[in-house]
Every structure is written in structure tokens, then in C-alpha cells.
């Protein structure tokens, strides 16, 4: 009974959020949702399958710009945009990754680095189509005839898509597809012996991850309503990698924890810097970029060195310890709890 009530309370909390809190919280919730979807995708590619990808932000950009263009030029409803953005990002990923799927993982990593820079370059040089350095303003997302013109309204789209993304990821790893991904990460040639075509499955893992990125980008375009190349720099790709590492590679819960953690950290940093501005009297916001770089890099290093399985493992340990003390105390009391 206890477990179901936890899920129900969570559902109620999430559904009531727009009315129960400030606009800033809703904004953060939307951002968390976007980052959860993106991190889930990168975790599939890098965490579960072991293919290092440095282009995730680039694929998010593809999704975001695709939605912007579809929405602005043809008024495509948001749900269709989301799907098409995922497909587009997946295709772009496939094109860039294709030469490397038959090679060792490090070559793919390099290809993704090239992809990241090339995509951003193309967006900045895209002139009238992409808006160059200034980017594009996104028209109001539409569902049916309804205009989702506030974060409160768009939040539900983000919530639904995020839940769906989590569910799909979870399902994949109940099936042979997910098992194949893990086998490729662990000992790829032995996976081949059991019938797993490495090139095909690597491509699959990479393109699924890119699809998620595209969907995340689409959601981002929907609630930010502005897309610029700057939002999708290499630093952001490192952000997503950090989210995977911090939360826990190869773990769905880890993707969620990591994404939320990494989303809140920059907000924390910005907040801390703004507070110190009064104390130290310098333009702390100007150094935000540098501090973000240090923190993201530092998180990756710290977790890989000290806690390679991430926060999800830490949470699991705490949970196990709690269950043990709970059961031992209930034994002492000679009573039964479910």
C-alpha cells in the first residue's frame, strides 16, 4: 500500500504544480523535464551502450530549430513538431555517425565532436533560414486550436512527454534491444557471437539517443520560445554528459536524478554569484560561464573518480540501509510491516 500512495502523491504533486507554485518554479520544472528527456537519450547512447557522444547539444539544437521552423512557417501543431524534431535529429545523428559505427568507440566520439561544431557552424551561417547568431523566435505552440502561450499551459506537454520518454526507456531495457546495448558496452565482440550485429545496434543506440535529444530540443523551443546557437554549445554537450555521470550511467533513475541535479546547479551558481555581488562588489554574472565550465568539468571528474555509479547508486545505498534498519527495528518490536 505504501508504494502506491507514494506514486499517487507524486502524480498529484506534478499535476498540481502550475497552480501551487510560482512562475519561476514552473519554468524550472519545464527545464528539468527537457533535461530529463535529453539525459535519458544520452544515457542510452553513452551510459548503457558505452558510445561517448559529444554532440548531444547539437542534436538538441536540431530538434529545437526544426520545431521553430515547422511552427513558424507552417503552423505545425506542437505534438507533430515534437515527433518530427525527434526524427530529424535522429537522421542527422545517423548521417554524422555512420562512418564510425563500424569502428571503435573513440572514433565515434571524435565524429560527434566534429558533428557538434559542424551543426553549430551551420546554424550560425544559416542566414535567413536559421537567423544566424541571433537565432529564431518561435511562434506559440498549438494543440488542436488551443494556444499554449504560457509556461503553465506548456508544462503539461512537457510533463506528458517526459513521462512517456521515461516509460519507453524503461521498456527498452526489459527487451533484447536494451540487453544488446549493455552487452556492446561491456564486451562487444562476445555480443556478436550471440547474433548482435554491432554496426546496426550501435547505430540504433546512437540514433535513439539523438531522437530523444531532438524531442528535448522541441520542448525547449516550445517553452523558451527563442532558439539561438549559443544555447547549444559544446559546454551544453558536456552538461548532458555530466548529468549522465552524476546521476548514474546505465540507470533510468540516474538519468532523472542527474538531469534534475544538473539543472538546479547552474541556478544555484547564478544565485550564489548574485548574492556575492553585493559582498564582493564585482560583476559576478560575468564569470558565470567560467564557473559553469569548472563546475561541469569538476562534477564529471569527481563522480568518475569517487562515485562512478553516480547519485542513483548513492540513493540506492541509502535506501538499502534504511530498509535494513527498518526491518531490524520491526524485528525488535515483534510486529509485521509490509
Amino acid at each position: 500500500m505504501g508504494r502506491i500512495s507514494i506514486w499517487v502523491s507524486l502524480a498529484v504533486l506534478l499535476l498540481a504544480l502550475p497552480w501551487a507554485s510560482s512562475g519561476y518554479v514552473v519554468f524550472l520544472a519545464c527545464l528539468c523535464g527537457v533535461n530529463i528527456v535529453a539525459t535519458l537519450g544520452l544515457n542510452i547512447t553513452t551510459g548503457y551502450t558505452g558510445l561517448l557522444s559529444l554532440s548531444h547539444a547539437g542534436f538538441v539544437a536540431v530538434g529545437a530549430y526544426t520545431t521553430a521552423l515547422l511552427s513558424n512557417h507552417w503552423g505545425v501543431p506542437i505534438l507533430v513538431c515534437i515527433l518530427l524534431s525527434g526524427v530529424m535529429a535522429s537522421l542527422v545523428g545517423g548521417i554524422f555517425g555512420l562512418p564510425s559505427f563500424r569502428l571503435k568507440g573513440i572514433y565515434l566520439a571524435v565524429a560527434t565532436l566534429a558533428a557538434q561544431y559542424t551543426i553549430i557552424f551551420a546554424l550560425r551561417q544559416g542566414g535567413p533560414i536559421t537567423g544566424g547568431d541571433s537565432g529564431l523566435v518561435v511562434s506559440i505552440p498549438q494543440i488542436g486550436g488551443l494556444a499554449l502561450d504560457t509556461n503553465q499551459k506548456f508544462y503539461f506537454v512537457v510533463l506528458a512527454v517526459t513521462v512517456l520518454a521515461i516509460w519507453i526507456s524503461r521498456n527498452l531495457f526489459f527487451t533484447r534491444i536494451g540487453r544488446a546495448f549493455i552487452a556492446i558496452r561491456e564486451r562487444d565482440f562476445t555480443a556478436e557471437v550471440f547474433g548482435i550485429n554491432l554496426m546496426r545496434y550501435k547505430a540504433l543506440a546512437f540514433m535513439i539517443g539523438a531522437f530523444y535529444a531532438g524531442v528535448a530540443g522541441s520542448l525547449l523551443a516550445g517553452f523558451m520560445r527563442v532558439v539561438t546557437p549559443e544555447q547549444f554549445s559544446l559546454t551544453e554537450s558536456v552538461f548532458y554528459l555530466a548529468a549522465v555521470v552524476v546521476g548514474g550511467a546505465g540507470s533510468i533513475a540516474g538519468s532523472i536524478i542527474g538531469a534534475v541535479f544538473m539543472t538546479l546547479i547552474p541556478e544555484f551558481i547564478a544565485f550564489a554569484l548574485e548574492s556575492t555581488q553585493e559582498a564582493f562588489g564585482f560583476r559576478a554574472i560575468a564569470i558565470l560561464g567560467s564557473v559553469r565550465e569548472i563546475v561541469f568539468g569538476g562534477m564529471i571528474v569527481a563522480f568518475l573518480v569517487f562515485e562512478p555509479r553516480g547519485l542513483s547508486e548513492v540513493a540506492r545505498r541509502i535506501w538499502a540501509r534504511l530498509k535494513r534498519t527498518k526491518s531490524s527495528s520491526s524485528d525488535n518490536a515483534h510486529s509485521k510491516h509490509t
Binding site: 519507453i168 521498456n171 533484447r176 540487453r179 549493455i182 561491456e186 565482440f189 556478436e192 550471440f194 550485429n197
Partner: protein, 278 residues
């Protein structure tokens, strides 16, 4: 055809062998790993490939699996040339194997590791998997049941099925590797040192298991082993490899007393007689 330099003892079976290795030569750079190796494996038999270290035994297995492409020679499975098939395609033919170094997958439970062996028997694609279609659910449940009822019990793995593979004892991991291979429902099972690092009671248990697998599941077995009690005890035929070449082939009794076989082990005959502990 078998090269005349190899002594082949015992009667030839008239039916087509399940697996034929014909005149296989494999070089790495200038190094000859295998030179003109020819062996035939009859269906339903337990075969052992023995020889001193560096003889090319695992290399031969890797050629059969498809990891190395020989410069010369042929490999025929059920009469069909498989050299042009990549390793992942050979699994669909019903060829399974275990590895010298345990290669179980961390991050998955014992059950999931075993299920991976049956990858080619499942039909799930990305969409079906992502949305966990009814067909997918049924296939997964059926596979789980099959493993729980048919594969895990003889290997005494049922109590470990939900455990992560990391941290399990070596002997248990070896059995999981075997279970994974069996999940493929193989016609041919390649075992690379199945009892390496096991004590005598574990070896005996594995010996009985291998014989049971052959009998109940109709699987042809090729194993590489150093443990002579196992090799001589349960093999129908034994092939001796030395320095990348077949030295002789025959029943255990024949090979044991064959002068060339003894010569191949000369200088390392301590290893030939004692068990290898990892």
C-alpha cells in the same frame, strides 16, 4: 579433405559431418597461428581439442566463431560454407560458445545475461520494445519461463537468477556462461576451457552436465581443455594441435598412446597431466 600429414585414426562416419574445418591457414603479420588445420566434427559427438599453450586452440575457435578470417581454407557447417558470414550471422545457424575469460555483462542480472544468449530467437524491434507490445511481453515471459524451467535447474542457477552477475563465485559464473550459450538452443556448442580453475568435484559436475547437454538437447560439443581427466573421460574424439597444426586425431585411447601426441607435449607434459587452476 584431410591433409595426409595428419594421422586420422578410427573409422570414418559415412554421414556428413556437422562442422568441417578444411585446410585452414591463418597468419597474423608474419606469424602463422594456424597452418593447414583440418578437422571434422560429427553430429552428436563430444569433441576435445587439446595441445600445449600457444598451439592455436582458441584461435581455431575464434576462426569458427568468425572473428578471424583465415587466409586459406574453408569452414563448412552442415555442408554450407560459413566463412563469408560475419560472427553475428553464425549465431542464427545455431553455433554458440563460451569464452576462456568470463565475459558476462555487468549491469545486468544473471537472468538477463542468460536471456542475451537467446537474442536471435526473439523478434522484438525498437518500436515493439519501446512500447512493450503484447508480443514482446509474451516472448520475454516465455523466454524467462524456459530459462527457469529448462536451463537453470540442471545448472543449479535458479537461486541466483535475480542477482547481479558481479561478485558471484567463479564456478557459478562459468555455469552462467554455459546457460547463456544454451539459451541460444544451439546445434553446435564451442566451449573454451569449461573447467579452467575448477576443483575436481566441480569438474566432475561439469563433465556430467556436458554429457547431459549432449544427450537431452542433441547438441554437438567442441571443447578446448587442458584437464585430461575431463578430456579423456567424456570425449568421443580428440584432436591434438601443436604450433598451429593438427598433430593427430582419434578416440581418447588412441590419442593418449600416439607418439606424435606425446611428442607435442614433451617438455610441457606436466601441464598436460595436472589440472590448471586459474
Amino acid at each position: 579433405m584431410v591433409s595426409p600429414a595428419v594421422d586420422r585414426l578410427g573409422a570414418q562416419s559415412p554421414s556428413q559431418p556437422l562442422l568441417e574445418v578444411a585446410d585452414v591457414t591463418l597468419t597474423f603479420g608474419g606469424l602463422h597461428a594456424l597452418s593447414g588445420v583440418s578437422v571434422e566434427f560429427e553430429e552428436g559427438t563430444i569433441n576435445a581439442i587439446i595441445g600445449p599453450n600457444g598451439a592455436g586452440k582458441t584461435t581455431l575457435l575464434n576462426v569458427i566463431s568468425g572473428f578471424y578470417l583465415p587466409q586459406q581454407g574453408q569452414i563448412r557447417f552442415q555442408g554450407r560454407d560459413i566463412l563469408s558470414m560475419p560472427p553475428s550471422a553464425r549465431a542464427t545457424l545455431g553455433i554458440a560458445r563460451t569464452f576462456q575469460n568470463i565475459s558476462l555483462y555487468r549491469g545486468m542480472s544473471v537472468l538477463e545475461n542468460i536471456k542475451l544468449g537467446a537474442h536471435t530467437t526473439l523478434r522484438t524491434n525498437v518500436l515493439a520494445g519501446g512500447f512493450f507490445s503484447r508480443a514482446t511481453r509474451r516472448q520475454e515471459a516465455a523466454l524467462t519461463q524456459r530459462i527457469k524451467e529448462e536451463i537453470a535447474p540442471p545448472l543449479r542457477l535458479n537461486e541466483y537468477l535475480d542477482d547481479p552477475v558481479e561478485g558471484l563465485a567463479y564456478g557459478i559464473q562459468k555455469r552462467i556462461e554455459l546457460a547463456r550459450a544454451l539459451a541460444l538452443s544451439p546445434k553446435l556448442l564451442l566451449l573454451d576451457e569449461p573447467v579452467a580453475g575448477m576443483n575436481s568435484s566441480e569438474t566432475e559436475e561439469m563433465a556430467k552436465l556436458i554429457q547431459r547437454v549432449r544427450a537431452e538437447w542433441d547438441v554437438t560439443i567442441i571443447m578446448i581443455e587442458h584437464d585430461m581427466s575431463l578430456v579423456m573421460g567424456i570425449s568421443d574424439r580428440v584432436a591434438v594441435l601443436s604450433l598451429g597444426q593438427t598433430v593427430c586425431e582419434g578416440t581418447p585411447a588412441q590419442v593418449q598412446t600416439h607418439p606424435k601426441a606425446i611428442e607435442a607435449y614433451l617438455g610441457v607434459d606436466d601441464d598436460a597431466v595436472t589440472e590448471v587452476h586459474a
